[in-house]
């Protein structure tokens, strides 16, 4: 260590350090132009000149490259230094009069006009560019010439191959003399390319060292070896100079890791279709033809334009946008993707609505489509709202070509309307709704693993084992299984986990280790002894906030016994150190001023636990996300804010008390309501994973709606498979089936439910830890189309029955008509029943198989054979089944006269009315939920206006309820085909197992508590709580009869009851009134 004086203050530096480095460490500012942390100093610009007193005399040295020595005295801002720098700036200003950074410096040194002769240069010959070029391992440029002829140049003044167009010189040039543009045009023969950001779909560039996106897990930067200069030349490594913790290791190699596993789950996903190959759409030619994925980024607040809707070519706000559906889907001509990608209709509508929200309602949005496929839960409503409320135009037309409008960046298209007119329309921007495809890498992986694929390259599965690949033990989920949206992928993933869990049940918990439990110190009655740990977070906080001064300040706050700062509070060694300090200093409350409690509170709480403190004696002050990161240009005020936030946290933590978390035993059994295919699948999955399961079925047999179905869209025999499943369930020792049974009473909560069943007149009490609701749905009984008046008018299920009974009359039919959307997509039932298009087409094909000469007509509104079901639609058309579209206002008319059955419909192509004489009319009736209000009340689960249960989260929690311990599957959630019911049955089981496998759960300590003495029994808390946590103590109870009480297991700690309590009788532990008031009071100094 070398000690010397800096501006009269004693400072210390290490042997070999330069004056500038030590000054920067002590926060002493010295101006520089040619200095760069990662480069050897050169002393070129002389701006960092300081005054050095060596004991005998004063002289001037450049601080950037003058090594420190014991006993020296340095003055960085004396008058002679100031004068000297002023002259340097003035000379540089004469050389480069128009350089902004020099003008800025001139202002700082009080120079209005240079006294010297002005030149027109922009280069100050600092040499940063040549030094960084050498550092990059290239030396493509150097300082050439001498004296006044000196300049930065390439060898022999000619364009060079050596330059790799990395742009490092431009990035360090302080004056703007070197720009990326200049490198491209004069220096290099290599092409200069932006590194496209994958996350922003190439609409923005990114660096070779980058965090893939803001929410990436782990949120750690990675180095892209394909573009990093170090991996090209062996040079650079500038990043290592900036990393404070030496985390960067360029020598790391890819490792081959061998894992022994019992099962593999494939979830490799899909890639968006690349529309470049469609010449007629000119995606690669016209900048304003973009893909829907690019549109997603443009609309995103975190996207390249921060959510401001502008078109790529000229950054003008578009006034007219068109979406083209089925680009790369349902298309055999250009891309060989005959399947429907399932998600594009919905995302196009969503983008159109969001675009209108961003740009105002005068934005014209038009969606060009073939069939609008909004078959998901609540999707049809969204479609109707987009059309009726937002005014999105829906045009049923497949557009052939996009033409540029000469002289503008606009685009022109010609399309045929439904009435047959040819229309030319101009748009500012066109979005191609690209479909999903499986990448060649994934196809290769499937080959290596030896699993079979479908014609569309998706993973081949069966209807009854929808997450099992063709190879035992390997499961699949997500879009690799088939094109699907987020909810369906989430359901899939849970199901795949369940499937793996079923075969690995015996191995569960065999690799777990018990955690050492440290006894808790009793701090009650002790005076608060608060420790404050202020985190520097590398430079994330310390780069803006003056951390040492904040820690110093924290030490002065009431009850604070200890305050310090850490480089990284969350690192393993700091954690251990903190635990030591807590014990050593006898601290009983802790404040960590660092990042956000949302990500790091549990970590620091564990440190407290390890130090023997109750984890609730803790508070965080968010001085990174809420301070240094958002006020980087305001270090003083940011420092002040950090102090305020810490003061507020200290005031609060002083009032915290140790809180207890109730431990709750989970009964290792489940109750499944509903013995249909979904319920049975859930029960079977739970039992295979080792849990006793009760099935409550209201009818006299298992099977549910599947009993009425003939065959699956993949041609499998449903009854045969169903019988196998029923047999499995009946023979399973762990599954108890209660037929003719009904739930008559239900008490309890997650982990310990108690249900009373009435099974064929007998009362049975079942205790269970979780419940799965699989109450299904049934077919709508139509009143329209003369149903019930003639035996030739049947529903889809009745036709299935005929097939199952091998009704010979079917093969002798001359003509058959299917009418779709009977009861679905109507004002009374504004949802799509999802299965009927596929069902009717498959039945039509079954009729064709029996009698290829039969005339079959299918009357529809939109054909919704999503995913690879589309192949059936194609096959049906090829086999001569005639598809005729009708609209809501011109529904088909069925007439019965003199024993003649006929259907009248307006043909959508010919535009003329048709009359079809037929022998059979099949009505594809809606799926109607079994509205079971009683059940909903028992489990306190909500139902939507259609009567389907409402899941915890439409996208991320589709198979569970907001009520803990209650799960959902099958058609009670939404109409769905058998494979999707099975998947969700398994998914519900999987979600349930996440609870059951824990055996016990800990409630949160931050729960509400009633003070009975002040409770007036008004009941506001009981009625207001969304989680049903408060209740009244029974009137006959010995203590506090009639007063409110709160079940800590059900309480989510929201505080709604606390705020609503008229008597002030409820406290929220951890967010008590006195604590929040203390926080508010603590802020008064900031006001």
């Amino acid at each position: 260590m070398i000690t010397f004086k800096l501006n009269g203050k004693t400072v210390q530096g290490e042997e070999g350090q330069y004056i500038l480095q030590v000054a920067q460490k002590y926060g002493v500012e010295i101006p520089t132009l040619c200095h760069h942390k990662a480069l050897e100093p050169a002393g070129m610009c002389r701006l960092c000149t300081v005054e050095l007193f060596d004991g005998r005399r004063s002289r001037f040295v450049t601080s950037c490259n003058y090594p420190i020595w014991e006993g020296m005295e340095v003055k960085t801002d004396s008058e002679p230094v100031h004068q000297g720098r002023k002259l340097i700036v003035e000379l540089l200003m004469a050389r480069c009069p128009d350089v902004p950074i020099l003008k800025e410096l001139g202002k700082k040194y009080g120079i209005t006009e240079t006294r010297f002769k002005k030149e027109e240069d922009t280069c100050i010959l600092c040499g940063l560019c040549t030094r960084i070029c050498t550092k990059m391992g290239n030396s493509a440029i150097s300082l050439t010439g001498r004296g006044v002829d000196m300049k930065v140049d390439t060898p022999f003044h000619i364009q060079t191959d050596v330059c790799m167009a990395c742009g490092a010189c431009a990035s360090v040039c302080p004056t703007g003399h070197i720009t990326l543009e200049k490198i491209r045009s004069s220096v290099t023969k290599n092409s200069f390319k932006l590194i496209p950001s994958e996350y922003d779909m190439g609409l923005k560039g990114r660096k070779p060292v980058y965090v893939p996106y803001a929410q990436a897990v782990p949120n750690t930067p990675v180095i892209d070896r394909s573009v990093c200069m170090h991996f090209k030349t062996g040079g650079c490594k500038v990043c290592t100079e900036f990393c404070g913790v030496n985390a960067i290791d360029h020598t790391m190699q890819d490792e081959v890791v061998e894992l022994n596993v019992g099962s593999i789950i494939l979830s490799p996903g899909y890639q968006p279709f690349d529309p470049s190959k469609f010449d007629s759409y000119g995606y690669s030619k016209h900048p304003n033809v973009i893909t829907a994925m690019e549109m997603e980024r443009i609309l995103s607040a975190s996207g390249p334009t921060a959510g401001h809707l502008v078109r790529p070519s000229d950054h003008k706000e578009p006034k007219k946008i068109a979406w083209f559906q089925c680009v790369g889907s349902r298309d055999m001509n250009k891309c060989d993707h005959a399947y429907c990608s399932s998600v594009c209709c919905m995302y196009a509508i969503k983008e159109a609505v969001i675009a209108k929200e961003h740009s105002g309602s005068d934005l014209d949005c038009a969606i060009f489509y073939m069939d609008m496929r909004t078959h998901g839960k609540d999707f049809e409503r969204f479609y109707n709202t987009a059309k009726d409320k937002h005014g999105v135009r829906f045009i049923r037309s497949r557009v052939h070509t996009i033409e540029p409008v000469p002289g503008t960046d606009d685009l022109s298209i010609r399309y045929i309307t439904e009435s047959g007119e040819s229309v030319v329309e101009k748009f500012d921007q066109i979005v191609l709704s690209v479909g999903m495809e499986i990448s060649p890498e994934v196809v290769g992986m499937a080959k290596n693993l030896g699993i079979e694929l479908t014609p569309g390259n998706f993973c081949k599965t069966t209807t009854f084992e929808p997450v099992a690949t063709s190879r035992p033990g390997i499961y699949v989920c997500g879009a690799f299984q088939g094109p699907k949206d987020i909810p369906q992928s989430v359901i899939d993933s849970s199901a795949a986990a369940s499937a793996a869990g079923e075969i690995l049940a015996e191995a569960r918990n065999t690799l777990t280790r018990a955690k050492e439990i440290i006894p808790e110190t009793n701090v009650i009655g002790e005076r608060p002894r608060i420790g404050v740990f202020v985190c520097r977070c590398g430079i994330n906080i310390a780069g803006v906030v003056n951390v040492p001064s904040v820690a110093e300040y924290a030490a002065t706050l009431p009850y604070v016994e200890y305050a310090t700062d850490n480089l990284y509070s969350c690192s393993q060694d700091t954690q251990e150190n903190m635990a030591q300090i807590i014990k050593r200093e006898g601290l009983n409350r802790v404040v960590v001023a660092a990042c956000t409690p949302k990500t790091h509170e549990p970590l620091f709480q564990e440190t407290l636990t390890n130090a023997g403190l109750n984890k609730y004696l803790f508070e965080m002050a968010n001085i990174r996300n809420h301070d240094s990161w958002v006020h980087k240009n305001n270090p003083d005020l940011a420092t002040q804010k950090a102090k305020d936030l810490i003061r507020s946290a200290v005031y609060k933590v002083a009032l915290t008390m140790p809180l207890a978390e109730a431990e709750l035993q989970i009964k290792s059994s489940a109750l499944v309501v509903g013995g249909g295919i979904a319920g049975m699948t859930a029960a079977r999955s739970l039992s295979l994973q080792g849990y006793e399961t009760h099935i409550v079925e209201k009818s006299s047999n298992l099977g549910g709606q599947a009993r009425n179905l003939y065959r699956t869209a993949k041609g499998e025999d449903i009854q045969q498979q169903l019988d196998i499943l029923i047999q499995d369930v009946n023979q399973d020792d762990k599954i108890h089936v209660h037929l003719n049974a009904e739930l008559v009473q239900m008490d309890g909560f997650v982990g310990s439910f108690k249900s009373t069943l009435n099974s064929a007149g007998q009362e049975i009490v079942v205790e269970h830890g979780v419940a799965v609701l699989a109450t299904g749905a049934s077919a709508y009984q139509p009143t329209e189309y003369h149903y019930g008046e003639d035996s030739r008018i049947v529903t889809s299920l009745e036709l299935d029955k005929k097939f199952m009974e091998k009704d010979s009359s079917l093969s002798s039919l001359q003509s058959a008509v299917f009418i779709q959307c009977v009861g679905s997509r109507e004002p009374d039932r504004p949802y799509c029943s999802r299965v009927c298009c596929t069902h009717s087409i498959d039945n039509a094909l079954a009729l064709k198989e029996m009698n290829p000469g039969m005339n079959i007509y299918l009357l529809y509104r939109d054909i919704r054979t999503y995913g690879e079901r589309e192949y059936l639609f194609k096959e049906a058309r090829e086999k001569g089944i005639i598809f005729i579209r009708y609209s809501m206002d011109k529904k088909p008319e069925v007439s019965l006269s003199n024993g003649k059955l006929s259907v009248k419909i307006m043909d959508h192509i010919l535009g003329t009315p048709l009359e079809i004489e037929t022998d059979l009319i099949t009505l594809a009736t809606a799926i109607v939920p079994n509205r079971d209000e009683k059940l909903a009340n028992f489990f306190k689960v909500p139902m939507n206006s259609d009567g389907f249960f409402v899941e915890r989260h439409a996208k991320l929690g589709p198979s569970e309820f907001a009520t803990d311990g209650v799960f959902l599957c099958g058609m009670a959630h939404y109409p769905k085909p058998i494979d999707e019911s099975i998947v969700q049955g398994k998914a519900a089981a999987s979600r349930a197992v996440t609870l059951l496998a824990r055996k016990t759960i800990h409630t949160s300590g931050n729960v509400a508590e009633v003070v009975p003495a002040t409770c007036s029994s008004c009941g506001v808390c009981v009625s207001i709580c969304p989680y049903s946590a408060p209740s009244f103590v029974e009137e006959t109870a010995r203590f506090n009869p009639g007063k409110a009480q709160i079940n800590p297991v059900l309480c989510k700690g929201c505080g709604l009851c606390v705020a609503s309590c008229r008597s002030g009788a409820i406290r929220l532990k951890g967010f008590d009134n006195d604590q929040i008031f203390a926080q508010i009071t603590a802020l008064n100094e900031a006001m």
């Binding site: 990500t599 996300n625 929201c1054 009134n1073 508010i1080 802020l1083």
Partner: protein, 66 residues
């Protein structure tokens, strides 16, 4: 800052706005440093007394978000 800036006390819901403020940081967005955040478990916890207390302590504005 030459002009006097109004001081704002904000009560942010742990589940949405507090997280949003965290994300604003992650995105390195900038906003004036005259705001002090108090984290609450849910805006349901908000009591009129908290507004009054903040104003009484000298806040120029109170912002509740959730």
């Amino acid at each position: 800052m030459s002009e006097r800036e109004p001081k704002i006390v904000s009560f942010l819901c742990n589940w949405c706005s507090y997280g949003a403020a965290d994300l604003a940081g992650v995105g390195r967005m900038e906003y004036p440093p005259n705001i002090r955040v108090i984290r609450i478990p849910c805006t349901g916890r908000m009591s009129p007394k908290f507004f009054l207390a903040a104003l009484a302590q000298g806040a120029d504005g109170v912002w509740v978000s959730g």
